[in-house]
Symmetry: C2
């Protein structure tokens, strides 16, 4: 009854107005699994890297109780590499290069033991690959899906097939508007919910997140961040915190999903405080709990 | 110990994707006073109109217990007229015309009885006029100020003088960034607070509002609106609801200001549901109270 995570694993060159880093650990699977690891475990990952992938990275994942039996290491292949430069306000970035390398022919093969996973997070990969993953699973109870504008524009029919099979879709506000063709987010949420997912989370960056489901809406505040060092992976950290928390206590009520959205927001806030995955590598339970209280203080009134 | 409101009064031509209206009652004073009237009273207004201003409008204000002794009616003059067209997403608008008319030479003269006002709302007028208002008051206890990008760009030194004298500044997120020259809103809030106001409210439209003060932050959700018919006056309705609630119970703690921010958000949400001031003309206490509960349900988690 484990938690399975499938997505990309890569090495990133990141430039922000404050600093730059080369060959840093990245990819959706990495951020998602690290964030989830603070709530439940072991989590299993499926992905692909080349033989240039450092044993230090694998060791770091192991230290977080992340099961990497499903990690394919291609001999003679190179790991997916991505470079980007963030603008002054950190809300937008330019892609500098995208070398798919071994990720180009990624064929997710789920280890037998992980086919029984009860919770699955489909990271941001081609919808056809997300379908391949779902087809291998025996009886998943709760499927969380991420996607992006690239697939909404380029693989909409494939994506719509996936959406019919997932429980939760997590996207950002511009992706929600693009997918629904509707500028009003409340109307957009209804249109997207009609595509399949029982729950929809719309992430709004500095403005927090909205959870839609069961004819209810929950508005989560954003953590007040003065110093965002690297926005990379924030959305993945959100998905990992959200799903990890739900997997831990297995309660899928709307009330508990609200808490999960807060834990997702917490992990995203830790993620962006440091470069690459560093913000997710050394957290304590107390730090996470204290930030939960900060979120409550931020939004409570009576 | 009344509530005094000084700002513009005008007649608006408004086009939205849904409808259009000509010569409708508008102006910051109008929206602010109507919104405040549901919480406290009587409220006093100071403004200027021409003799083309309809007695029906004055009757409507009187019906809301709005004291208009300070309303100057210029014989032979024409009321301020403004026309605008909203875009498809209702977030942006084009100004079609601005005929200042009698508003061009507006000199706010505060009636003697209103010089003792304990609460004052300075609507969005020239900072030099806001100063003229403050100079006439005997001992105001609580001053709430609105402004806009036009004055930030064109009358910054005058505005800074006003900010040193006010308790609360209410602006939107783009104005906060412009005034502070800082894209991060949390940092921007600190910069603006250093200019004078003890409390700062940053309105974020569909993303809610932030209250800063006493080294605390409160994040208020936005009411989920599927159908916004006319955004005109939303910010003024916010200021009126916020200040009217505080004037009613005279408790200026941060906890009570949080509630006031919610009541401001509630009045803004009613405002945009109908054209012109119609959404603020016939509300019941129960409607307002029920929407307060909806706001709580929207943002509460434990």
């Amino acid at each position: 009854m484990g938690l399975l995570i499938v997505g990309s694993i890569g090495l990133d060159n990141i430039e922000t107005p404050f600093d730059k880093i080369e060959g840093a650990l990245g990819g959706s699977t990495t951020y998602i699994s690290l964030a989830a690891s603070y709530f439940t475990g072991p989590v299993s990952i499926v992905g692909v890297v080349g033989d240039d992938f450092s044993q230090d990275h694998i060791k770091m994942l192991e230290d977080h109780n992340i099961d990497h039996e499903g990690l394919q290491i291609v001999e003679g292949g190179k790991t997916f590499r991505y470079g980007c430069r963030y603008h002054y306000d950190l809300n937008t970035r330019d892609s500098l290069f995208t070398d798919l390398n071994v990720f180009e022919s990624f064929n997710p093969i789920i280890p037998d033991k992980d086919k029984k996973a009860s919770f699955v997070i489909l990271g941001n990969i081609a919808p056809s690959l997300q379908t391949t993953v779902l087809d291998q699973l025996e009886n998943p109870k709760f499927i969380v899906c991420d996607t992006m504008n690239f697939w909404i524009n380029g693989a909409l029919e494939d994506l719509k097939k996936v959406l019919k099979r997932v429980n939760v879709l997590i996207i950002n506000d511009s992706e929600a508007r693009l997918l629904s063709k509707e500028p009003n987010l409340i109307k957009a949420a209804k249109i997207i919910s009609d595509m399949g997912p029982k729950y929809l989370i719309i992430k709004k960056g500095e403005h927090g997140a909205l959870l839609f489901g069961e004819n209810q809406i929950f508005s989560a505040p954003a953590y007040p961040m003065e110093n965002i060092f690297d926005p990379t992976g924030a959305g993945d950290a959100f998905a990992g915190g959200f799903t990890g928390y739900l997997h831990k206590n297995m309660e899928l009520s709307f009330e508990n999903m609200k808490r999960a959205v807060i834990y997702g927001s917490i992990m995203a806030s830790f993620c962006v405080e440091k470069f690459s995955t560093k913000g997710l590598e050394n957290l304590s339970f107390l730090e996470i709990k204290n930030r939960f209280i900060e979120f409550r203080d931020l939004s409570t009134f009576d």
